[in-house]
Amino acid sequence: MSGERRVRLRRVVAALLDARGGTGRATAVCDACVSVLSGTDAAAVSLRTPSGAETVLGASDDWAVSLEEMQYTVGEGPGLAAHESGRPVLVDDLGGEATRWPAFVDAAQAAGVRSVATFPLRMGGIRLGVLDLYGRHSGVPTGDAVADAVVLAELALSAVLDHVSRAEGRGEDWIAAANSYKEVNIATGIIAGRLGISLTDAFARLRAYAFAQERTLRAVAADVVARRTDLEESG
């Protein structure tokens, strides 16, 4: 019964949260994913607005953070697909998806990713973001692992809401404290303002430039904000 599964996984998350000193519930859920789900080596919880802005609220390690940023930089991947469709996306062997997400598959394989499973975080009709699970080996998750992952995705959603609710209660700025792409948003505005183009076009230019330079969006954005580049090389 799913109630027992939930109780067991909730205990795992609670123990990991204690081990972390009681802060970062979303990260504790990511840690639980890595410890409980066979085939999962890293996990991250990312929020995504309808306009496409993202914030990484929790991650099991830096590798997970870099993979989230990779999907954000190339603007495609299983996480985005799950968010847009509202359904889980399971990729047993990333190599087989090169036509679906050419840029992401290329970069992720180079980073050592072989399998990805991603679950949307939904509250009724509201899509808040995704739980992304990354594996270093290809392989189909067992039915039991998928059932665990579904419950962990629910716990991730609760963790997000709990995090925001507590921060609101204390009057804290939870976005500033999270791993958001603030400088990317500012850089997008700068390019739009300087070139007199729309924000959508400015973001596309930023993304194309980062891709062409094989750098992350965040690194390029930092250069734009510091006026170290005007993206001229991107044509």
Partner: protein, 259 residues
């Protein structure tokens, strides 16, 4: 060991085991509903039917609504519904007392209750009930209703049976409060996205202001917030006007630009 003569009392033990197994099945069915999206009315029906099955009584749930009126929320059969409605119409009976005191009411022999609830007792005896139990449904400190058990023969419920009924009454309270919890979570989810979105719009506008002028990003942020304070708008509204083009960057940055 098992092929020896059966000790006395085994039939009783089997009956107790059967009742336990049925209890577990009822709990499993109710909680399985509660962890998924569910209709509170359907869960209350399950609780009434489960109480009836395990306790071998008819069962119903009576709730006090926001206006203070009693309404029948569930009943395991039509006689139980009638006994519930009698309490609702006469505003007297064990459940009325349970709601006002918050305590369990036990009436093993209804024939002695004519003085306490004259209208309810006469009518309920005529329906064919001999015993009535009313178990409070509490939400936080408030008693919002009762889970009522009606027996056709005079019955004394044991401690374990009462405990079972109390757990089901608590599950009924949970079924009734979860939707408002769900509503709060939906509002929180919407607010989370809106807060993120506002922040992104402000960041975009800060960049736009910096890109269209000679200000750096930190200065542009200060200028935007100062302007919002001066014109008494929220920063996000200024940001939207900037991004939407209705507010020229130079108007916001006036006084801050090198000439």
């Amino acid at each position: 060991m098992s092929d020896g003569p059966q000790p006395p009392g085994d039939a009783y033990a089997d009956a107790v085991d059967d009742q336990r197994n049925t209890m577990v099945a009822v709990f499993a069915a109710v909680t399985a509903h509660l962890v998924d999206e569910y209709d509170a009315g359907a869960v209350l029906d399950l609780i009434a039917e489960g109480s009836a099955e395990v306790l071998q009584a008819d069962a119903g749930i009576l709730l006090r609504d926001a206006g203070g009126d009693l309404r029948v929320a569930a009943a395991s059969n039509e006689s139980a519904r009638l006994a519930e409605m009698l309490q609702s119409h006469t505003d007297e009976g064990p459940c009325v007392d349970t709601i006002s005191t918050g305590d369990l009411v036990r009436v093993a022999d209804l024939r002695g209750a004519e003085r306490r609830w004259p209208l309810f007792t006469t009518a309920t005896l005529r329906v064919g009930y001999a015993s009535v139990y009313s178990v409070p449904v509490h939400v936080e400190d408030e008693t919002i209703g009762g889970l009522n058990l009606f027996c056709r023969t005079s019955t004394v419920l044991g401690d374990e049976q009462i405990r079972f009924a109390r757990v089901l009454a608590d599950l009924a309270a949970l079924a009734l409060t979860q939707p408002s919890l769900r509503h709060r979570r939906e509002q929180l989810a919407e607010r989370t996205l809106a807060t993120l979105n506002d922040r992104v719009e402000i960041d975009h506008a800060v960049g736009l202001l910096a890109g269209a002028t000679d200000l750096d990003a930190a200065q542009a942020a200060t200028v935007l917030f100062d302007y919002a304070r001066r014109v008494r708008l929220r920063p996000v509204d200024v940001a939207r006007a900037l991004v939407g083009g209705s507010l020229p960057p130079r108007d916001v940055a006036v006084g801050h630009l090198a000439t």
